[in-house]
C-alpha cells in the first residue's frame, strides 16, 4: 500500500490508484474534463495537471498512478498558473454563448472558469468559427465551437456501445468531432454522449431549449421503460417532468441509460385521466367511491366471484400490487387474476430488456409466483362467451398485439361492469363504467423490483395530476367503503408488512445500492 502526501494530507491508498482518485479520497478536488470514471484515460485536456515533487514537469493527475512516498501538490503556484493557462487555451475560441446553451448551469467549463480562471479574454483577433447546430444524430446535436475536444463521446461510442460512430477530424484549432462517413450517431444510447459531454457541445434534441437546468428539481427515481429499472434523476419543473438523467448505480445501469427509456417520461403527462369518471362523466372521489362500492357489491352478488376478473399491472409499484392483492383476495374475494402490462419489445445485451414492464419481478414477489395468473387470450374468450361478466383492470396495458386488443375492446361492451383504474384514458375510459385516476411513479413513492430481483425505491417528485391518487390509496378508499378491515394510512405501513412477509418467505429484500 503506497503512502502518498497530497497537500500535506498523508494517506495510504490502494496500489494502482491514480493521483486524481487519491486526491478525491483526501478531500481535494482536481478539476478535469476528459477523465470519466467509466471510460479509458487519454489525459488530453490537461486540466488535471498537478505538481509531483521531484518530477520535472507537471503530471496529469487522472493518468499518473501514485507511488510510495509521493508528494503531490494540487494547489501550488505552478499548478494554479497551469490551470489558468489551460482554461485560457480552451476558452480561446469558445463562443461564450451561455445564454443560448442548454448546458449552462451544469457546465464544467463555466464552473472551472469561475473557480480557476476568472480573467478576461486576451484574444484580440476574430474567434475561430466552426459548425453550429450540426445534426450529428437523430437524438443529439453537435456544436463545434463549444467543443473542447475531450473525446469523451468518442470513447463512449468505442468502449461502452462498441458502435464506433464518432471520430476527431482535422487538426489544431480546426479539429471537430464528426461521424465516420455514412454513419450517424444513432445507437440506442446516443444521448449518454450529451450527458457525459462536460460542455454544451453535444446536447439532447428532446431537451433542447425546453427548460434551463437551474430551474429543474431533481428527484431520485427509477426508469419505467423496461424491467432493467435504470436509476434516474427525475428532473421536473412546475409539476412536469423535463427529462430523465441516469443516476450512477454500478449494480444496475452504471452511468448510462437508453434513449428509449429517456423518452418514457412523456407517458406520465400524455392522455392522463385526471378526474374520476362514471360512464364518461366526471365525478368527485366521494361520489365515485360510493358508486363503485354499490356496483362492485351488486356485481359480486349477481354474478359471484367466478364471473369477476381482475387484471393486475406489472407497471404498478410493489406497494400498489400488495394492496391490489389484498383488495382482490380479501375484499372482493376474486380468484380470476390476470396479468396486464405492456407486450414484450426489443432487447439488447447491455441495458434494454425485452420485458417493458418495470415491476414484473415485483408481481412475482408479492403474489408468490406468476402461475396463478390466467392467460389474457382466455380472458378475452371468457369475456366474449359471457363467463367473465365483470372486470376490474389496473392500467391500460395488455400484453397482446393490436388485433387481440381490438377483440378485447369489443368484448368490453359485453361486460356488465368494467372498472378501469389507471393513469391514462386510452380507448378504455370512455368504455369504462367507472374510471378511477391513478398517479404515475413521479407523483408517488414506491418500490420496483427489476429483472435481477433488486428492489429499488423511487421517490415522489411532485403532487399528483388532477384528482389522481396512488393505486394503493384507491384500493384503500374502496376497501373502506366496502367495510373491509384494511387499515393502511401511510405507504411505509405497507412496506413494513410487505417486506416482513417477503423476509418470512426467506426471500430477503435487497437494499438498493446508491
Amino acid at each position: 500500500m503506497p503512502k502518498v502526501t497530497i497537500n500535506d494530507t498523508e494517506l495510504e491508498v490502494e496500489k494502482g490508484t491514480t493521483i486524481l482518485k487519491a486526491a478525491a479520497q483526501a478531500g481535494y478536488e482536481v478539476p478535469h474534463f476528459c477523465y470519466h470514471p467509466a471510460l479509458s484515460i487519454p489525459a488530453n485536456c490537461r486540466m488535471c495537471l498537478v505538481e509531483v515533487e521531484g518530477a520535472p514537469n507537471l503530471e496529469p493527475a487522472c493518468y499518473s498512478e501514485v507511488t510510495d512516498g509521493m508528494v503531490v501538490r494540487t494547489k501550488s503556484e505552478r499548478v494554479v498558473k497551469a490551470q489558468k493557462a489551460v482554461l485560457e487555451f480552451i476558452l480561446l475560441n469558445h463562443p461564450v454563448d451561455c445564454p443560448i446553451c442548454d448546458q449552462a448551469g451544469e457546465c464544467k467549463l463555466q464552473d472551472y472558469y469561475m473557480a480557476y480562471d476568472a480573467q478576461e479574454s486576451r484574444l484580440r483577433t476574430e474567434k475561430n468559427q466552426k459548425v453550429k447546430v450540426f445534426p450529428i444524430g437523430p437524438e443529439v446535436l453537435y456544436d463545434g465551437e463549444r467543443c473542447i475536444l475531450c473525446t469523451r463521446c468518442i470513447r463512449f461510442c468505442e468502449e461502452i456501445t462498441g458502435t464506433n460512430e464518432l471520430t476527431l477530424i482535422q487538426r489544431g484549432d480546426s479539429a471537430e468531432i464528426r461521424t465516420f462517413p455514412g454513419k450517424e450517431l444513432d445507437n440506442p444510447y446516443s444521448v449518454c454522449t450529451a450527458d457525459i459531454c462536460p460542455v454544451g457541445a453535444l446536447t439532447s434534441r428532446d431537451f433542447r431549449f425546453k427548460c434551463r437546468v437551474w430551474l429543474l428539481t431533481s428527484t431520485d427515481s427509477v426508469c419505467t421503460g423496461c424491467s432493467n429499472g435504470c436509476n434516474i434523476h427525475l428532473e421536473h419543473f412546475r409539476n412536469e417532468i423535463q427529462r430523465y438523467r441516469p443516476r450512477y448505480n454500478p449494480e444496475v445501469n452504471d452511468y448510462w441509460m437508453c434513449d428509449e427509456g429517456r423518452l418514457t417520461y412523456k407517458e406520465v403527462h400524455d392522455d392522463r385521466l385526471r378526474r374520476p369518471m362514471s360512464n364518461g362523466a366526471a365525478l368527485n372521489w366521494h361520489g365515485v367511491t360510493e358508486t363503485t362500492r354499490d356496483k362492485l357489491n351488486r356485481a359480486l352478488k349477481d354474478g359471484g366471484a367466478s364471473h369477476f376478473g381482475f387484471v393486475i399491472s406489472p407497471q404498478a409499484s410493489c406497494e400498489d400490487l400488495y394492496l391490489a392483492k389484498r383488495f382482490a383476495g380479501d375484499v372482493l374475494e376474486v380468484d380470476n387474476l390476470y396479468l396486464g402490462g405492456k407486450p414484450d419489445g426489443w432487447e439488447d445485451d447491455f441495458l434494454v430488456k425485452a420485458d417493458k414492464n418495470p415491476n414484473r419481478q415485483g408481481v412475482n414477489a408479492v403474489f408468490d409466483g406468476l402461475d396463478q395468473f390466467g392467460d389474457i387470450e382466455s380472458l378475452i374468450e371468457d369475456m366474449e362467451s359471457g363467463a367473465i361478466k365483470n372486470l376490474y383492470m389496473m392500467e391500460k396495458h395488455l400484453p397482446v398485439d393490436d388485433e387481440t386488443r381490438g377483440r378485447f375492446l369489443d368484448a368490453i361492451d359485453e361486460l356488465d361492469l368494467f372498472v378501469l383504474q389507471g393513469q391514462h384514458h386510452a380507448e378504455l375510459s370512455q368504455k369504462a363504467h367507472l374510471a378511477l385516476p391513478a398517479c404515475s411513479h413521479a407523483e408517488t413513492e414506491g418500490t420496483f423490483v427489476n429483472f435481477d430481483g433488486i428492489a429499488q425505491p423511487f421517490e415522489q417528485a411532485f403532487a399528483p395530476h388532477g384528482d389522481s391518487l396512488p393505486h394503493w390509496q384507491i384500493f384503500m378508499k374502496l376497501a373502506r367503503a366496502m367495510g373491509s378491515p384494511l387499515s393502511y394510512t401511510f405507504v411505509h405501513q405497507i412496506q413494513d408488512e410487505m417486506f416482513q412477509a417477503s423476509q418470512d418467505d426467506g426471500e430477503a429484500a435487497q437494499t438498493p445500492a446508491e
Binding site: 454563448d97 451561455c98 443560448i100 449552462a104 468559427q129 431549449f209
Partner: protein, 179 residues
C-alpha cells in the same frame, strides 16, 4: 412635570383698523384673488401652483424611471432576446413567461417564441433588466404601467413589447462572417 418650560406669549393687540373687520377681509381676499388670476396665466412659467392637468399634461419622469418593459431589437428588426430565461429566473414576482423556439439562423439559434410579461404582477424592481446579458429587455420606456379594466389586457406579449423597443448600442454575438 415641574420641568416643563412654559412660555407666555402676549396676544397681539388689535387696533381700530383690524377691529373694523371689512378692510382686513378685503386684504385677505385680494391675496387669494391674486393667486387665482396669476395661476390662470397662459404663461405657465409664471404660475405658482404645482398641480398638473393630468392626464393631458403628463408627469416628467426622471431618466432612470422604471416604466413599462420593452424588448429591444436587432438591426434587422428581429427581437434581441435569446430566451436565456435569466429575467424570468431572477424575477421575484414570477411575472415573465418565456417559451424558447429554434431560430432558422444558426447564428441566432434560440429566440423567444412566446414572451409574456404580466404587468399587473410586476413589482417594477428592474432585476430583469440587470439580469439580461443581451440588453434585450429594458424598462426605460418612460411610460408607467396603465390601469386595466381586463386582467388579460395586462399580459404584454412579445410583439407588443417589441413595438415599444428600439435599437441597442450593445454589440450582440451571432454575427457570422462567411468562413
Amino acid at each position: 412635570m415641574g420641568n416643563v418650560n412654559v412660555k407666555q406669549v402676549d396676544r397681539v393687540k388689535q387696533g381700530l383698523w383690524e377691529k373694523s373687520y371689512i378692510p382686513e377681509i378685503l386684504r385677505g381676499l385680494s391675496v387669494t384673488a391674486g393667486h387665482f388670476f396669476r395661476n390662470l396665466s397662459p404663461n405657465k412659467s409664471k404660475r405658482t401652483i404645482f398641480t398638473r392637468d393630468y392626464p393631458e399634461e403628463p408627469t416628467d419622469y426622471p431618466d432612470r424611471y422604471r416604466g413599462l418593459h420593452r424588448l429591444m431589437l436587432r438591426e434587422d428588426g428581429q427581437v434581441r432576446c435569446v430566451a436565456c430565461m435569466c429575467c424570468s429566473t431572477i424575477c421575484p414576482a414570477d411575472c415573465i413567461h418565456i417559451e424558447a423556439g429554434e431560430h432558422d439562423d444558426p447564428g441566432i439559434e434560440k429566440y423567444p417564441d412566446v414572451f409574456v410579461i404580466d404587468e399587473l404582477r410586476c413589482i417594477v424592481c428592474g432585476l430583469c433588466v440587470e439580469a439580461c446579458p443581451c440588453d434585450a429587455i429594458r424598462m426605460d420606456s418612460g411610460v408607467h404601467i396603465p390601469p386595466y379594466t381586463e386582467r388579460s389586457d395586462a399580459f404584454y406579449g412579445r410583439d407588443l413589447l417589441m413595438e415599444l423597443g428600439g435599437l441597442s448600442q450593445a454589440k450582440q454575438g451571432g454575427d457570422r462572417s462567411p468562413s
